[in-house]
Amino acid sequence: MEIQLLHRPGNTAAKVTLNPTEVCTAESGAMIAMSNNINVTTTTHKRGKGSILKAVKRMVAGESLFINHFEAQNTTGEVWLGTALAGDMEVMTLDNETLVVQGSSFLACEHAIEIDLGWQGFKSILSGERVFWVHLKGSGKVLISSFGAIYPIHVDGEYIVDTGHIVAFNETLDFTITKAGKSWLHSFLGGEGLVCKFHGKGTVWCQSHNPSSFGAMLGGDLRSR
């Protein structure tokens, strides 16, 4: 599976080239175009390992309940993937490790990678902002997307990232959801709400813009539903 990123960073699209019988698993709705020899199947979870519980967890995560599997038939095929929001993408190669990806930043991965929704406990639900994580485990390529630019932060010790700016992080990092200011009142008045305090050693990938902030900004100008 080859992944080529074009028109970075604002209008990034990913061209995924698949050899015969190779399978790419992608977030629902991500396909913008593909060659004709690609077979698409939609499942609630990884093929053969379907479990409705996992699917429900995906739904809770704000992810679609369904994921699509693109399989090249007899010849090499290509799939173009895009996102709804403007921004960049990044290809990560996992080597028998786990990457935790923020729900809306997951775009696609190789079939060999296990997709699971890690249960982070109530601390995530309470955060108000939809902080849910997709755990990608195994070896192979992973494609993640961001709203705006994407940049890594190497954490050794402790670091604080606003929940809306997290794209992905190594599982070697542990985190707690906490308040940005000294008191809860100040945190909310300051507009920073909740932040993730990472500890340990690893990398956090951040996005330059917070989709919820942009959405909230647009919301005021939209007709109520």
Binding site: A13, G29, A84, A86
Partner: protein
Amino acid sequence: MQDNQYHVTLTGKIADATNIEHASAQFARLFKTTPEVAMQTLQKGPVTIKRNVDQATAIKIRNVLDKLGIGCRILTADEADAEARAATQNLSVNNNTSVKKDSSSPISDTFESPTDHPGLQFKIEGKPDYSFVTVQLPANQTLKVEASAMATMDTHIEMKTKLKGGLGRFVTGESIFINEFTAAHGPGEIGIAPGAPGDMMHVYLNDEVLYLQNSAFVASAMSVNIETKWQGFTKGFFSGENLFLIRASGKGDLWFNSYGAIIEIDVQDNYVVDTGNIVAFTEHLDYKISKVGGYKSLFFSGEGFVCRFSGKGKVWIQTRGVDAFAWWAHAYRPARSSG
């Protein structure tokens, strides 16, 4: 600003070329010279005939010349300097035939010289994220421009609103107007910026046909015929997008834009494109709307219907979809308060 900073420049265009003798006789009388000199001056092309006059005088001269059918423009001293510099640069480029355009890029980002294609000179800037085009319009030529897309233009360019495409564009929700911009008193430039941020492409149609997704049209030469084409109920309604395509045909320049970047795909036999990501495609491709995968995929894949192209040709796709973004933004709409 000082008042006497205006130059009057002849464009070298004469409305009634057959009657050049009369025009030069009049011109000679006005500027106190011989008809022979006047005729030479008129045929020479862009030449400044009055320097450093005030605005009122410049306008008076233009009005007189207009009556004689002699094309002219009023420039400020700064503009004139800039144009003179540009002209010498153009000249040096034209003389140096070894200067070659980057042929790997299908899109030009500099003013194209007419030798590259027989169309108008233009410049696309802000590529690829915020593309807009500036077209150099020769005197008395007209450009069709998508309604409300005009951003900047010379003051002597005149706009006319035309009802093009008929009722079809009412149904699709697309504004039905294409405005026509004419460079009335000599050449001028017009800056055109489409509504969505993204890329822009230029093609020169040579008696060819190109189909555009409804909102992709930016501008075209007058010689290009723009019409809407009903896609039929199955192709239109099921696609969930537009019921009409724009059919551009004839000979001349055509500009179209995208939301997001444009990717050009060479279709050899078959290709599948999400209906929301089609920008344009060539005539000899056949297309039909179908689902991806099985019925489960139809409802749950998030892809809905796709467009299957078959045949040989080119499809331009965009990396973002307006509908996908609108759907995303929908979640942030405020809830109606009860009562």
